[in-house]
Amino acid sequence: MPQYSATQIAPNVWEIPTTAKSGMNVPARILASPSLFSQMDEGVFNQITNVATLPGIRRCAICMPDGHWGYGFPIGGVAAFDPEEGVISPGGIGFDINCGMRLLRTNLTFDEVAPKLPALMDALYALVPCGVGSKGVLKLSEFEYRDMAVCGVKWCIDRGYGRPKDLQFIEENGCIPDADPDQCSTKAFNRGSSQLGTLGSGNHYLEVQVVTPENIFDPVVASVFGLGMPNQICVMLHCGSRGFGHQIATDYLKVFDGVMRRHGLVTPDRELACAPFTTPEGRNYFKAMNCAANSAFANRQLITHRIREGFSKIFHKNDLALGLEVVYDVAHNIAKLETYQIDGIPTRLLVHRKGATRSFGPGSVQIPEAYRCVGQPVIVGGSMETGSYLLVGTQAAMDETFGSTLHGSGRTMSRTKAKQLVRGETLRQSLLDRGIAIRTASLSGLAEEAGIAYKDISEVVATVHDLDISRRVVRLLPIGNIKG
């Protein structure tokens, strides 16, 4: 049980007061059902109260129900800072800048795909490199990489890797402005140059999924998102900015060490290294981070292109005929300038989301026109054993959580511990017996991602649904998974 005293202030909302830790500027709030709250690891309580000590933080530091012990912020952490008085922190974004989710739909059904699933998985595994040291088909010069980091997905579309329509269904249309490649190091470009179109490893995956009729919770919203055909096949992607983003975060953590000394800033965790957003270093990190965010959108776009090639090869139809369309693409490791009502006044804030997803409600001009009547799709990745969810954003999220909600199911045990309990080959066979085909670059990596290492995703999703910071639309069940 946590050492911090938290008070339940509303159903599924627990608050730790500013008196709990020296230096807290705002309370910390943990969003969780009583059961999930009791399972929260100690790291969450330490880290979310650490976040509450950062300068310029507004209203409260928030941890989502999928929260767990990370570095700097907990995974599932959300915090909003005054851009004039507050800070920007790579530890509130993660090394994997714009790690995020993309969901594709098809017009294929389970019955059409099942007989060809092994061949489809082999084709996708061959087309989408994954694992340690994997390289994509493109090798970009620094000049080309700079262009891509500014233009994002448009860079891909201009070169034939996708369709212009794809742009409409990506957060920020796949291109965040204020991206300046001059603020990225040569090392960052070197690390990223061969990695576009690769998955990476860890919890990153490409999953073929099915939406069965009993897993459609809101048929109206599902229909707006192009889902609802019985036993419809979808493809879900989870990956980020690869080595380019990792190096940018590494570079600026060291830069911020010096900035903090100069400004007399002290944080409880060195991984919360930060810089005032008004300083040149803070601004430069923001501009470099936006480059990494654009490269992550481009990475998911190139993988989408390869997925379309794979489906076309196996089903002997072009991807248009297969209805392989982007439902949505959304970041869950990022900082963005957004406007929220604070004490009734529209206020510009720098919102950090680390393992948390934007959840904009109906009417927002920042979501695709086709979705404005219902809200933004929220893609929630689960374990390869238990499935994933598609949710929709709400006005309550705008009012209560800086337009944010959860991003996944959340871990309950470390990778080291999971490997002690599960053998990769046994797990692969067990999944196959349950109708889930696995392709992986690492069996030990597979074991680390076993379902027992994660919280019950349905309970986690039910919590945000009940809080109304996003609402259930459909659940997607895995039938094939590629893990790095």
């Binding site: 690891d41 790291g43 767990h68 012990w69 990370g70 570095y71 700097g72 995974i75 530890g91 993660g94 090394f95 994997d96 694992g131 340690v132 040291g133 994997s134 390289k135 090392k187 070197n190 690390r191 990223g192 140059s193 990695q195 990476g200 490893s201 860890g202 919890n203 690869r242 080595g243 990792h246 190096q247 975060a249 590494t250 953590l253 060291k254 965790d269 060195r270 991984e271 290294a273 871990r411 309950t412 045990m413 470390s414 990778r415 080291t416 511990k417 002690q420 670059a441 690492s442 030990s444 990596g445 680390e448 790095g484």
Partner: protein
């Protein structure tokens, strides 16, 4: 000269934490690099095919260890290089220095049992110390 390392099962759930103990600074750095590499590959599968000179300086020992491990993560992505053995000396003083040679292999999934890709070395719970005759470091890697 010896070193040993252990992975910590109850720290940083999404990532990987390890603690290294050695009897010199050089061995501590060597042990930490081996722990890092063992997350990414079965060390027995690595051959000693490539040699890369290295020379790093820092103002503190913890900064030097952070830079050392981060450099190995960088070489994994930029050069597809995985370290098999480190012939290095760590020199203390007003400026800390690590110099020597990296010996290792190119990533080739067909002949190597690969593990998890390390994204970065974090500062979370990062600790380097000398305690009596022991040199100790704790590191959390972002996976």
């Amino acid at each position: 000269m010896t070193y040993s390392y252990e992975f910590l099962p109850n720290v940083a759930l999404a990532d990987t934490a390890f603690r290294v103990k050695a009897d010199t600074w050089s061995q501590l750095f060597t042990g930490a690099s081996e722990a890092l590499t063992s997350v990414m590959v079965d060390l027995a599968d690595l051959e000693q095919k490539r040699r890369i000179p290295i020379d790093l300086t820092a103002t503190t020992v913890d900064e030097l260890l952070y830079d050392w491990l981060s450099e190995l993560v960088y070489l994994k992505d930029a050069e597809a290089f995985l370290l098999r053995s480190a012939n290095i000396d760590v020199l203390s003083g007003a400026i800390w220095q690590l110099r020597g040679e990296l010996v290792g292999d190119t990533i080739e999934p067909k002949r190597q049992k690969l593990g998890q890709d390390v994204k970065a070395v974090t500062y979370h719970l990062f600790d380097v110390m000398q305690k009596g005759p022991d040199y100790i470091a704790q590191v959390v890697l972002d996976i």
